[in-house]
């Protein structure tokens, strides 16, 4: 039976380096995917993913078992992404909430619809949807990461899914993007 994330982070807090290696191996791809789907530049995505793990090393002692480690780590990633967007907005004068959909890495015909449809969503709804569908966080974990109430998470997720459903129906009926 695999060791839980919470046990691993506790071992790392106690000074066991190999515990962090296991954590890194487990979350390397998920954290990379988190940034890759939200940023067009893969190099920037890599840098922010690296920054996330650095922040985890430097702040491992702050983790408390009352929250799941998964939500703690994605909370760090969420904060890293927010800081990067704010920094970019200050430098370029654009809005800090700019969504930069990444180029599709797999079958372009199937994911272009997803990418474009999600770009049209409200940014807060979109973020909740992505945390649920791609990072597989629970409603409570999403609430912890984003700092909004659980009912708000549920409402945003429902709104986002309905919007995508309507868009999908429009594509099915007309064959072109509405």
């Amino acid at each position: 039976m695999a060791t839980s994330d919470e046990v691993l982070i506790a071992a790392f807090q106690a000074g066991r380096r190999e515990a962090f290696d296991e954590i890194f191996a487990r979350y390397r791809q998920p954290i990379w995917g988190f940034f890759r789907r939200r940023l067009a530049d893969p190099e920037q995505a890599r840098e922010l993913a690296q920054d996330t793990f650095l922040a985890l090393v430097e702040n491992a002692a702050r983790y408390q078992p009352r929250a799941s480690f998964r939500s703690y780590l994605f909370g760090i990633a969420y904060h890293v992404l927010s800081e990067a967007r704010r920094r970019a907005a200050r430098e370029s004068g654009r809005s800090a909430s700019t969504h930069e959909p990444a180029s599709p890495d797999t079958d372009p015909t199937s994911v272009i619809w997803v990418r474009d449809a999600m770009a049209d969503l409200d940014e807060r709804d979109r973020e909740v949807l992505m945390l649920r569908e791609f990072e597989a966080l629970s409603y409570e974990e999403i609430a912890t990461v984003t700092g909004v109430p659980l009912n708000t998470v549920r409402s945003r997720l429902f709104r986002a899914r309905l919007a995508l459903r309507d868009r999908l129906v429009g594509l099915t009926e007309t064959g072109v993007r509405r």
């Binding site: 491992a60 797999t106 997720l157």
Partner: protein, 394 residues
Amino acid sequence: MTDTHEIDRELVMAWMDSELSPAQAQEIETHVNACAACRQLAAELRDVSARVSAWTVSAAPASLFPPDVERRRSARTSWFSLPAWPRWSYALAGAGITVVALMATSTWVMRSAMDPEREIGAGIASSGSAAGSPSARLSMPRSTDAFEKGQGQQGQPAAEPQVAVSTLMIVRSASIQVLTEKFDEARASLERLVRAHEGSIAQLQVTGYEPSQRSLGATVRVPNARMDAALEAIRQIGKVRTESQSSEDVTDSFRDLSVRIANARIEERRLNDLLARRTGDLGDVLAVEQQVMRVRGEIERMDAQSRAVQGRVAQSTIIVQLDEAYRADLATGPLPLTTRFTNALVDGTRGAIDSLVTVGIGLLTIGPSLLVWGVLVGLPGWFLLKRVRRSNSR
């Protein structure tokens, strides 16, 4: 349009996501089984999730490597440490210390005003200065040794996770020369410890043969984080004769390279946008296409450089020299005596034949010249000599 459905449709979604309590889930499931509209909704939401999940991303790049935990631990040690208390406790402690300091200072001021020649007490003087200002002490950064046990830890005041804008990139290398009496065992130990530290042997060469002194030279590559441990293990193989380490800080050059890559990508995007508009004549379009190709080539070249630098940072190089200790031996050498005598006889015979061949070649080389000059000079000379003798005899 008002939704008069008896069940909140969001709960149907929450039931689909397994986010309800068991009792609530049972209630919703019973309703869904009896309600075609809710069944339809659940099916549609599942379809949306399935389609969204089609958006997969590529594998994480090899350049995404784990941070050097050991270096983070050793680089931020401090003589001072704070435990990981909640933020409010630090704020409360800071406020309390500030109040005490102000009260003590005001008391001292008042006493000094009353009696300027009064000696200042050590406790009053130390309350505001020796310990440093509370805010400054609380703002000292936390050491990553915070998860180590014991004293000497430095805590971090309440703050959100720090975003490392740049990572220090150091290329490390070392060379070590070890003397051993058990050469074969030492070699096997070296290969084992390289594997144990997730490294590889890029190059290996063994010179010499038994019973003479043997020597092994190897270039070992290990992950940066494992270099110190690997060196320590190598030291245990034998007696260290020489050792040296070096490091090269490539942070600035790598950062410059990254900036150049980013600028090149921006330029590429602009050129592609320009190309997409397709304004201007064919010559202009071709010129832009050439620029796009040039920039793309530069990006790929710089990407390769970037990956190479990251590879050098990720993997440290250790040059290992393993020498077998000299031991005197009465053995006559690698070959038996009879073989050596036979070899000498063969070599001597070959030498004699070679000398005869050399003489023959020499004669054949100068022979024709001697013959020609002998005819050209000798014949006239012989005739002249004959005439002189004949005239002398008359």
